[in-house]
């Protein structure tokens, strides 16, 4: 049994933790939040130079070739630091989509630049409030021209390219690659609950769009992309949960009320114990997701949904109880509690709510063979 990351990856994780602390990524997140800047370009450049963005991109395309486990350890640290960079959009969404479905030419054209951070990629999916279904999809491609409006698009104002979900000529959902600098693309920043990560509204009016992946395979591709991204986002969420708990713990030791540290009140102790337990269960589920991702295992869809639900709930719990532990201070702009709270909700909706993922989880269980149910007493992973 070696259910842990390799020493090499742990070293990468420690380096990432040190680097993000040195750069004070949390303060950078606050600067972006206050300036509405979208992201921290200097931090992004350095992250690119260190090869993080291309961690999972094969060396042949300019990446570090560490595989998805490399992204997992980095994601946790970026999540803990609330790093205000378009990492998830570029690395887990755009790059992964091209890796999964891109033609040789598309891979060669985009992956090296995505890996270095020279260009930023994103995924343009949502079309305002309400669940996205193929039937309700407004964006459409006719010939090779895309029309429609996407919002919110993460890092949409900064991105150079977007993978866009739209209806193809056959009326079915498909993914397209769009150069966002080209004609027929208008974009504007859009206000969200978490301005430390920029979001935009993209309006396409006859923009050039090239298909990503074979015709008719859009829905399946999107599902695979989401399963992979769910694991990576889970690590980001784990990091956030860990940092929010650390912050609450530190405050509970320093703040005195009724002549004693508030951390000596059981209502606070037990609350934080519950936050810890939720975080540990989420971590264990995320590790299993990481294993399934790294092995391209048939268990990935179920493992991803499990990791996603656990991590979304754990980060949100940690973030809201961190505010509660801080009392009035937790509600001030000056304290960082709200940064975690905003990010927790942002990430919990980024790939769809836990409601949708729970439903997906049960659907996947229904189609699994009985071995998947061995649960608590199970021997097989």
């Amino acid at each position: 049994m070696n259910f842990d990351f390799s020493d090499e990856l742990k070293q990468l994780r420690d380096e990432a933790r040190r680097f993000l602390a040195e750069r004070n990524a949390l303060a950078a997140a606050r600067r972006v939040l206050e300036s509405d800047g979208g992201h921290d370009a200097a931090l992004w450049r350095e992250i690119g130079e260190m090869g993080w963005i291309g961690a999972a991109i094969p060396e042949a395309f300019g990446g570090a070739g560490l595989g998805p486990l490399g992204l997992c350890v980095l994601a946790e640290e970026l999540g803990a630091a609330l790093a205000p960079v378009p990492f998830s959009s570029s690395a887990y969404l755009a790059s992964e989509a091209i890796l999964l479905a891109g033609s040789a030419a598309q891979k060669e054209r985009y992956l090296p630049k995505l890996a270095s951070g020279a260009i930023i990629g994103t995924l343009a999916l949502a079309e305002g409030p309400g669940a996205l279904t193929p039937a309700r999809l407004g964006a459409a491609v006719a010939g090779d021209r895309l029309t429609g409006t996407k919002q919110p698009v993460p890092d949409g104002a900064a991105a150079d390219i977007a993978v866009v979900a739209a209806r193809g000529t056959d009326r079915r959902l498909a993914l397209f690659l769009v150069d966002l600098a080209a004609a027929g693309v208008a974009r504007e920043r859009i206000a969200t609950i978490d301005p430390s990560r920029g979001h935009a509204r993209l309006i396409f009016s006859g923009a050039a769009a090239e298909p990503l992946g074979p015709a008719g395979g859009g829905e399946r591709l999107l599902e695979r992309l989401f399963d992979r991204a769910a694991v990576l986002f889970a690590f980001e969420q784990l990091g956030g949960a860990r940092a929010a708990l650390d912050m609450a713990k530190a405050y509970a030791l320093e703040r005195y009320a009724f002549g004693r540290p508030i951390g000596s009140f059981q209502a606070i102790k037990h609350k934080l114990a519950d936050v810890y337990v939720a975080g540990e269960l989420a971590r264990s589920n995320a590790y299993y997701g990481a294993w399934a991702l790294s092995q391209e295992a048939p268990e990935l869809p179920l493992a991803a949904a499990t990791a996603r639900v656990a991590a979304s709930d754990a980060f949100y719990l940690a973030a809201k109880e961190n505010i509660q532990t801080h009392g009035g201070m937790g509600y001030t702009w000056a304290f960082d509690c709200h940064l975690y709270y905003r990010r927790a909700k942002l990430l919990a909706l980024a790939l769809g709510s836990t409601r949708i993922w729970k439903d997906r989880l049960v659907a996947r269980l229904e189609t699994q063979h009985d071995g998947a149910l061995d649960g608590a007493t199970g021997i097989a992973p």
């Binding site: 049994m1 070696n2 259910f3 842990d4 990351f5 390799s6 486990l69 708990l245 713990k249 509970a252 030791l253 004693r260 540290p261 951390g263 000596s264 059981q266 606070i268 102790k269 037990h270 934080l272 114990a273 519950d274 810890y276 337990v277 540990e280 269960l281 989420a282 971590r283 264990s284 589920n285 590790y287 299993y288 990481a290 294993w291 790294s294 949904a305 499990t306 639900v309 656990a310 709930d313 409601r355 993922w357 729970k358 439903d359 989880l361 049960v362 269980l365 229904e366 009985d370 149910l373 061995d374 649960g375 608590a376 007493t377 199970g378 021997i379 992973p381």
Partner: protein
């Protein structure tokens, strides 16, 4: 990252599999058998003793115990491997865990070489059963509040008082006992630790009926019970330190919560019809199922992370408390929800007409015990908060006060 055994672990697992296949029956998938606490069934004790004896002669009892105690001298990971494999079999459980998990390690840790040789082998072989005489009406979570008196009389001690909740006292041969030898000292300092035969004159065992209707635990009264000083473990007044050894082992000894687990509630949801079709099609049901699956898997892979640490020779810390804390409440929730799915008929506890042989109904009644025994939910949260997160201990009013000057309640 992998789930593979090392070659040595794989070889050990193969031997375990071979032994189990030859000596026990597999638990039918999804069946209630093996979950049900069948201690009260006729002949259960004899079957359990027989199974323990076979386990012992095959070398799978006391896997981590030193060979001089009659154990295998193996590693904790081997114990985990054995437990994993045994979980798939319908073997008797519930009679030896307290003795082997808590009592004998304490006796061996603090006793003499002769005592180790005398008591460890028969306990391992299942011929002698032990119980834990700790809790009292005035000392449960606050164990050091216990009042049973131990007074010196020549080479003996005279014990007077009452223990409560003593699991298995009625079929046990021996017990470990903490008693108060000096009420003038602060509560943790005036305790002394003993072991004794449950047949000693003056020991009166009376069963307590649980809410499940069964009687697995007892009140034990002590009236002028004589214990020779040679059966004292640790120094006079050092009983608390000895008791801590027992309690440290307790968290490891308390196993998984019994079912129904996720598999049973999932099967039920697939089979049972609600007003609007099969339960599994109902959104509220799906939401619940997903939450329990996420918890079940989270616990499973937390165990795998612990195994990884054991496999590397590291010692898992107090985070092991997570399993019981999460598992006990999950069990209680699943039991109640399963009954809800059965609607008005859900209250029937006659196994012949109920899904899973009325396991959900039984679990409703036995699950509360798991949230109390072996450290209540609240105590476990305290342990996590203090030992894992480093938050301050609770404020105490009883620390340096002589025991006989402490305030007491009416219960």
């Amino acid at each position: 990252m992998d789930f593979n055994d090392t070659p040595e672990e794989a070889a050990f697992r193969a031997r375990v599999k071979e032994f189990l296949a030859a000596n026990a029956a597999r638990r039918a998938p999804g069946s209630a058998e093996g979950y049900r606490s069948s201690q009260s069934a006729p002949g259960a004790l004899e079957r359990a003793k027989d199974w323990q004896a076979r386990k012992h002669s095959a070398g799978f009892a006391g896997i981590t115990w030193p060979q001089e105690w009659g154990g295998r001298g193996g590693s904790p990971i081997e114990q985990v491997i054995y437990n994993q494999e045994e979980a798939a079999y319908a073997v008797p459980r519930g009679f030896f865990e307290i003795g082997l998990g808590m009592c004998i390690p304490t006796v061996c840790g603090w006793g003499t070489a002769e005592q180790r040789q005398r008591f460890a082998p028969p306990a391992l072989a299942g011929s002698e059963i032990w119980c834990q005489l700790f809790s009292e009406p005035a000392g449960g979570s606050d164990l050091a509040g216990l009042r049973t008196r131990a007074e010196r009389s020549g080479d003996d001690w005279i014990i007077n008082g009452q223990k409560i909740w003593t699991s298995g006292a009625h079929y046990s041969d021996y017990g470990i006992l903490v008693a108060r030898s000096d009420p003038g000292m602060p509560k943790h300092k005036g305790l002394t630790f003993f072991f004794l035969s449950m047949k000693t004159p003056g020991v009166d065992i009376r069963p307590i009926r649980q809410i499940s209707g069964h009687s697995h635990f007892n009140e034990v009264f002590f009236t002028d019970v004589r214990i020779p000083d040679s059966q004292r473990l640790g120094a006079v007044g050092a009983g608390w330190q000895v008791a801590l050894t027992t309690l440290m082992n307790e968290r490891l000894a308390v196993g998984d919560a019994p079912g129904p687990d996720f598999r049973e509630i999932f099967d039920l949801a697939r089979r049972i019809e609600l007003d609007d079709g099969p339960a599994i099609r109902n959104a509220a049901v799906r939401d619940q199922l997903a939450q329990w699956y996420v918890k079940t898997q989270g616990l499973k892979y937390t165990r795998f992370r612990t195994m990884t640490r054991l496999s590397r020779g590291e010692t898992p810390g107090p985070e092991a408390s997570i399993g019981k804390l999460v598992g006990a409440s999950k069990l209680q929730e699943i039991a109640a929800f399963g009954m809800d799915l059965m609607e008005m008929g859900g209250i029937i506890s006659d196994p012949s007409v109920m899904p899973a042989e009325a396991l959900f109904q039984q679990a409703l009644l036995y699950s509360p015990a798991l949230r109390i025994a072996g450290g209540s939910d609240e105590i476990l949260r305290n342990i996590i908060a203090e030992r894992v997160l480093g938050l301050p201990a609770d404020l105490r009013v009883d620390k340096d006060v002589p025991f006989n000057r402490l305030p007491t309640g009416r219960r």
